[in-house]
Point group: D2
């Protein structure tokens, strides 16, 4: 790489590094030490843990491995804040992350400052592989910013006082849209997946051909009003609508509404980052499992799109569009606009697809420790597409494959209908 | 349908009905009443339950629905022997099927005779829809024949005396084949899935186009000798080889070898329908989970095939070939032949693919109660192809999609390697 | 021991051996091979297991240890039918006893015949220690006869067809007794526990002094009519009546009536060895846990007796009185007689006491393997007194201490009220 | 009650109230907000919860019920900080107490100040029943002070960094005492239990006669050196030493040493409120379960004392003696003194007895909500006697009955041997 290009890249990375690291701090700003220590369930992590783990990533894969003479801020912390990198040795039990009152939030923020200073001091001298890992670290931290918002919401929901993390203005009522309009696509070979030098996770590669039949895609995500109709029609009580695993899950967990919905006074409210608010009927339904999404689609005489169908359309959207996360605050899905065209494919709610998270044809995992990254999760999970209101703007790509187990729903997950046409 | 054609179809079905029903009886012949009542785990059912459930299918969907004046043999038994048809009302808890000492094996065999007589007496007068259900019932019973063998093996394995169900002659030693030879295929659009009037399960339809890249397929399944090398190389102990869920599963269940393998005197034996025998190194490895298959493939620098890749080759094989089940006895995988060509794609061990069991493009579930059949299982399971030594000959098709959860391994499951080429 | 005395003892033991062993066979007579193999829960064992385990006891502790040249009927069976004697080596997992379809019921009965013949052939030559173990084996087998009845009832209750094991005549209605009459006792030192040369379990010894205050004891066990009043008054729904552990247990297990009670047509029936029958209001309530007994007593303004209080009265009763088991059949608690006096202290239902099963002062466990017998169960269990309709007549003593965990209720357990006076 | 006497009582209670409430604050002083929010297991509660719950007690049973016009500090908090008083309505799930980051530690301390001011302002005007509840509240808070220390220790032990809560000086080595000397007591009737007007929990009453046989009691608690010998002799591996439930517990939980013991460099260290330190061989063993205590006693050819035996001697000790809690700090058991006499019956480690926690003869629970206090725990637990280094001095009585389940060991529990003599 020419010197000039490298300097430009360093400058660009400096700016992005400061922005990304600053946003994490801002997300944690309303939290007390105790708030930041809570772990509401094994799937979720304390906010403090996210702040520390993302810092550990830079300290380990950039500073330790590429900056001569760097000494870790506290060598006992790697054990605590490694997440799942088997190649990096033993680590603290994931389900017990909520037991770490020490180091304190202040100590973790101090670690962040020290690592930030060290990275920014070294950035001009880093070789391209180190810069690549720095960039990976930024994408990694953006992922964790979304997880932080998900996990903070889940943690505060555990408190019977239902405290708000941020205050929000009441939303203005919006007309609930009519039944979806359908965009029809002709069959043919398409290409999906990432190609080129820009950053992407390994699971998005390689770009490859796939055949897509004739299909129709709804112009908007399913709304809360739609979902209330599904509930009213007994959708949660009819086994013929449900996958077998989903029916068992709903019975075991006594599921009868999306996560965070609260039945009050004959209507529905929902808990959010801004506390308890009435349901907005025009907004996309959110915090539903794959099982629920699939049952709804069957009830509606439709189905979920495949990820190829989704990407075929999503590739034409600006990946930085929509209501994505720009600054700390009580993000929530918002009503999609009215009018012709496909609305909010990007940046409102993650849309469940009917595709399992599996390797693309020709997939090769990245080498070495960071290569554990995505391949090892390729069983039992389903793909979601399109980013959401909690996704940091700039993090998304049209080829981005998010994935969760079919019963999970603490992420900002919704759905858009598709059908054979 | 012309009368002659219908009569011919009835004649053909009569013959097949007698053969299929007879094979089930033969499979149960070595079992005592107590043997036939055992349920070794919730996934498995007692042999008596299989004999009864398949009978319930004919009594309910053929005799009750199409034969005027038919009265059920014992109307209390539907509750006991319905399996998962939500549309047919409540049913006995699956995990408690082993509690049914009554009706006895003799009573169930008496029920079978009564239903057989009623079906055979009515077959000439049945309308085409009833004949369609009769045919479905035969395929259904064949599925349960394989399950019976799986479940009987699992049940007898629970007994520390390790009794044999059938005696078998010692197998003659066979040369262990060398490392696999690879068959390479050029990329292109292929068609997979079932078309035409012949019977197939709904999940095999519709036939559809899919794009397959350049790939190589091994000429034979992975052998026991291969697997012993994997164990010896520490394959079960290296987390970098394993899917995250698989690693957790293996730790939780302390998995270090295929199911039914027994470490004895420094070597390996295996339990089978013929009791405990030494491992045959040349035979295909069997009773492995998807997690194990996937880890092995990674260790071998290869991967599992997709179901499209498998079917592309499998479609050229005779689906009635291989070591499939012809008569009751201690079936077990056998060494594949040597020499050029793809060996034993069909009828030795089920081969794990890397495809999730999901609806084909354009999939429409069958209508009504029997339409619950396959669609409801389309989450969390992986596809296996090719049939096995316990599959009744005549049951298989090249388009046949078997499916299990990634941790399951009491079926006759093995693997064949593929790789990008 | 003088020769004459020993011969007399051998004659007596011969007679009792034949009677006891014969009763076990009679209890199993209505069972099929499959019936005898069922294990409805880990606490219970298959009937076949009881038949085999009691035989293993004689084969091991009498024949193996005292009869020169005796060779075990099948040396692999000790592993299967040892129960909890750690000193006797490894044994089959208790929770998997229901997996033993082999050996069959017929084979186990054959083993019984062989062991019976060997014991009866040797009995005249056995030294006193061997005769002592033979006697212990008879008491042990009588215990298992009661367990067999309990476990058979539990096993058949699992079958939705609710089959009867024995037919029974309908019971004639009896007048429901009025509220209990109280017998008052003055305070003082009493002696309880076993003394003398007759057989008793180690936990009944030594006889010792204990101080008992002034108290009143009810003349009869609590009846089903009493219990129905408790239910009607919301007894199962008032947390202030319940022990904390009991309240949690009842919530977790959704307990609202005694075990085997079935709400039908606005009334109560119960399942028994004779199938489903209407509740007899005059009969003692049965199949209740300690938690339920304790809650009932609190509701009634009373308490449970201590075992010293119970034995103080019980010592004056004929331990062979009451409705104890004389021959195989559908035993069930029966209405207590009317009139003055303490009724049915012995031989109707086991009566929960408020005493924990703990060592008596000066307790010394028996030496050696059979010394594991009772001492090791001295934690977490409560004492029941008085025998029941399923206790073989001749097995009971006034000093007999039965014990179960407070949540268990598949034994024939009831209660009698006491109070401070 | 005469006015003067009441005033004196109020003065006395004022002083004790200030002392007790101050000690709780001091115990929490080293804790951060996050430290005080941790719940390491369902049995334990966050320190903040203890601070709040004891405050709720005074606010509810004194201020709300007896001070006209008192308005709760925050009416939403009763739901959070009620513990188990069913009569006081619904309450927050015990196992989720660690989810309450709000109210913060500072807010709870503010609540404490407000309630303290209100109580101290009203104390002169409170009627005797209110003063009785105030006194109960002080005993209740002292109980929670000991629980706080137990729970803080458990919480910090979860942190792999093993932080110290308080620094402590290294202890000076002390000569390990020889095998115990025995004090022998002649048999006879004794009286145990509380009588008189002084405060005691209901479970300590009534005072009653009980008969005690001839027995010997060891002069000191079992030491760490004794315990190391037990471990070295294979005590944890010999099933014949263990209660059946204890053996299963130890296998399931892989128990091989007291809680908080850490095997390091061939020796033993232990975690404490002062972090990780070497084991002091002369100090009493601590943090053992009943199962372990019972197994040790059997190994030593002895047994545990009954509570009557213990109290017979304990009644002659000053209940305020020993190493009890005087001020906040890293309390730990200390070596007992040498020389003749019974040492440290009081105030070093709680001593397991072989008595179950059951009602004394004539026991009547207190009326009303606070009467739920102890009676509801009378099943499944064993009594411990004598107080410990974490018991606030002034809280103990010779009649004091502490109780825990046989598997629990996060309290400061040890043992003293007894035997029949």
């Amino acid at each position: 790489m020419a010197t000039v290009a490298r300097r430009e890249r360093a400058l660009d990375l400096t700016e992005r590094f400061e922005a990304v690291r600053g946003l994490s701090r801002a997300l944690a700003a309303p939290l007390s030490d105790a708030d930041a220590t809570l772990q509401p369930m094994p799937d979720a992590s304390p906010a403090k843990w996210h702040l520390a783990h993302t810092t550990w990533f830079f300290e380990t894969f950039v500073l330790r491995d590429f900056v001569a003479g760097y000494r870790p801020h506290d060598e006992r912390w790697a054990y605590l804040f490694n997440s799942y990198y088997e190649g990096e040795g033993e680590r603290h039990d994931r389900a017990r992350r909520g037991m770490l009152s020490r180091p304190s939030l202040d100590e973790v923020l101090g670690w962040r400052r020290a690592v930030d200073d060290a990275v920014l001091g070294a950035i001009d001298t880093l070789a391209p592989p180190a810069l690549g890992l720095l960039e990976l670290g930024l994408h990694h931290e953006q992922q964790h910013q979304e997880l932080m918002l998900m996990d903070m919401k889940a943690a505060f929901f555990e408190n019977p006082l239902r405290p708000a993390i941020w205050e929000a203005e009441a939303s203005r009522p919006v007309r609930v849209p009519d039944g979806p309009r359908w965009t029809i696509d002709e069959p043919g070979l398409v290409e999906i997946g990432h190609a080129g030098a820009d950053f992407a996770f390994d699971s998005e590669t390689p770009r490859h051909k796939t055949y897509v039949g004739r299909f129709a895609l709804a112009d908007r995500p399913v709304t809360n009003a739609d979902w209330i109709a599904f509930i009213a029609d007994g959708g949660y009580g009819d086994p013929l609508l449900w996958l077998s695993d989903g029916w068992a899950w709903a019975a075991r967990e006594t599921i009868g509404a999306p996560l965070y919905w609260i039945a009050e006074d004959g209507g529905w409210s929902r808990f959010g980052l801004d506390g308890v608010r009435p349901i907005d009927p025009a907004a996309p339904v959110c915090h539903i499992s794959y099982y629920e999404a699939d049952a709804y689609a069957r009830w509606a005489g439709a189905r979920l799109p495949t990820e190829a169908e989704w990407e075929h359309h999503g590739a034409r959207c600006d990946p930085a569009s929509g209501h994505q996360l720009d600054s700390a605050g009580p993000v929530a899905p918002r009503p999609a606009p009215d009018g012709p065209g496909l609305h909010d494919l990007v940046g409102n709610v993650w849309e469940w697809t009917q595709s399992a998270f599996l390797p693309y044809p020709g997939f090769t995992p990245a080498e070495g420790t960071v290569g554990e990254y995505n391949g090892k999760f390729m069983s039992g999970q389903m793909v979601l597409r399109g980013g959401c209101c909690a996704t940091p703007r700039g993090h998304l790509r049209a080829t981005y494959r998010n994935f969760f187990y079919p019963h999970q729903r603490w992420m900002f997950s919704g759905l858009r209908l598709a059908k054979d046409a």
